[in-house]
Subunit: 299 residues, 2 copies
Amino acid sequence: MRCKRCTEPAIIEIRRHRTSFCSECFLHHCREQVRRAIDKHRMIAPDERVLVAISGGKDSLALWDILLDLDYEADGVYLGLGIDDYSKRSQSFAERYADTRGAKLHIVDIPAEHGFGIPDAARATKRVPCSACGLSKRHLLNRAAIDGGYDVLATGHNLDDEAAVLFGNVLQWHVDYLARQRPMLPATDGFARRVKPLIRMGEREMAAYCVVKRIDYIVEECPMAAGNRHLRYKEVLNQIEERTPGAKATFYLQFLNEMLPHLDQVAAEERSMVGACSRCGAPSSQEICAFCKLVEKVG
Amino acid sequence: MRCKRCTEPAIIEIRRHRTSFCSECFLHHCREQVRRAIDKHRMIAPDERVLVAISGGKDSLALWDILLDLDYEADGVYLGLGIDDYSKRSQSFAERYADTRGAKLHIVDIPAEHGFGIPDAARATKRVPCSACGLSKRHLLNRAAIDGGYDVLATGHNLDDEAAVLFGNVLQWHVDYLARQRPMLPATDGFARRVKPLIRMGEREMAAYCVVKRIDYIVEECPMAAGNRHLRYKEVLNQIEERTPGAKATFYLQFLNEMLPHLDQVAAEERSMVGACSRCGAPSSQEICAFCKLVEKVG
């Protein structure tokens, strides 16, 4: 197998692009895919300050790496979720990467600042852990971006993640969730702009990127996520992809191109309903935001 | 296991409804589900004349049976597709049912009237057989309904069929197909109203209905459909249903409730582009309709 770009021996085949690459050309390909996503969806202007949400996993560290290589001014923020040993080890991968690159990493520790971890929150609210975790992340990452004066908050959601979320939303036709599932959500009162520059990259490519670039990351999935819905949806989509390479990218990217324009009005109506939480001032469509309610319940 | 309606021993469990029925109550349930679909989507008014598309399979014969039991004036039309022995046997099942019920069955034989069968059409056009077949059916069934002065054409598409088609359309976000995937398409110039009264009934329930009512039907799938996309999508959906009973009905019925209203304009634009075929006068968005093009190619 030869690199389709330079004819050197290839190290990876990407079936949905009907191509294969050597290490150097693969890194070039990754950067180009990210650049293309950023340009097409107007995610980040050249002089803007970016805050990258870092979990210590392959996607977020690779995203940070690519953004730095593309010369963006990109700092990281690590959110300590209080999931015992898993959180500690994740944090050390994040810190090690920041040290190596000489990049700035903010640490927000939920147990230290709010007195509880995600396992406590899940127990207290009887929510599935991923739900309590997701809402905490949305709230605290946004606050970190706003407080730090960043123009934009970037997360490492890749094509597989976004396709799985889309699949879940489509199975139940949550039209308001569909309308909001955009790779770039513009800044609104109290919300930093949120972007997902990895939407054109598969999970497998992100792992390969880290291997080639020698970025150490936490390989295990979060222990609390085991068996969650999205992991099942990923399996279903992988089956379809296996038979029809490119099916997953078509499913997600055609959604952006073909369906989302019909849901612009739904999204605008949603946005118009957002006020401010009476407790913390964060944007919320209810009097008290979901995070403050969570804090109250756990406490 | 007991019937949830009358406590007699049950013969079928329907997991997505969390219920089970004896024979009599199951038949009542089937009629009620069809009545509900007809009412909700204004498919058929009490005094209208219905033409039911009959393939000789379980769905179309059960549909005909239920419509007759619900006192609709319903005739059948059988389309001979020229698929050798399979077509002959299918036709005999259709005729036998019509005889038993003393119901009127029209026969339209494609090879006799147009000089070719579906296998020839597929070869000549290099289309997959299901594509040539589908377009021929749409054209000829509509013509039979219009020529016979029927108010409405009913087809036996069940929940599994519609969910699989929806799944295929969603995987590629064919927004115009999505906008058109309605259980009731109103009559327009040259098109009879088209309805799908079995959208609330699963494949398995339709087979059970025929067993209970002692309706003989052709059990084999069409030999030309083997391995087609929709059969694969049905498998995927069955996997999801297995884990989450009701997922399939939610997927399809929520699409009708939640998504379709956002696509009304797309559907209206589509309709406004339909003119008449210059050759046969049938409605078509192109100068010559797809069926006349097919006839030309095969001939």
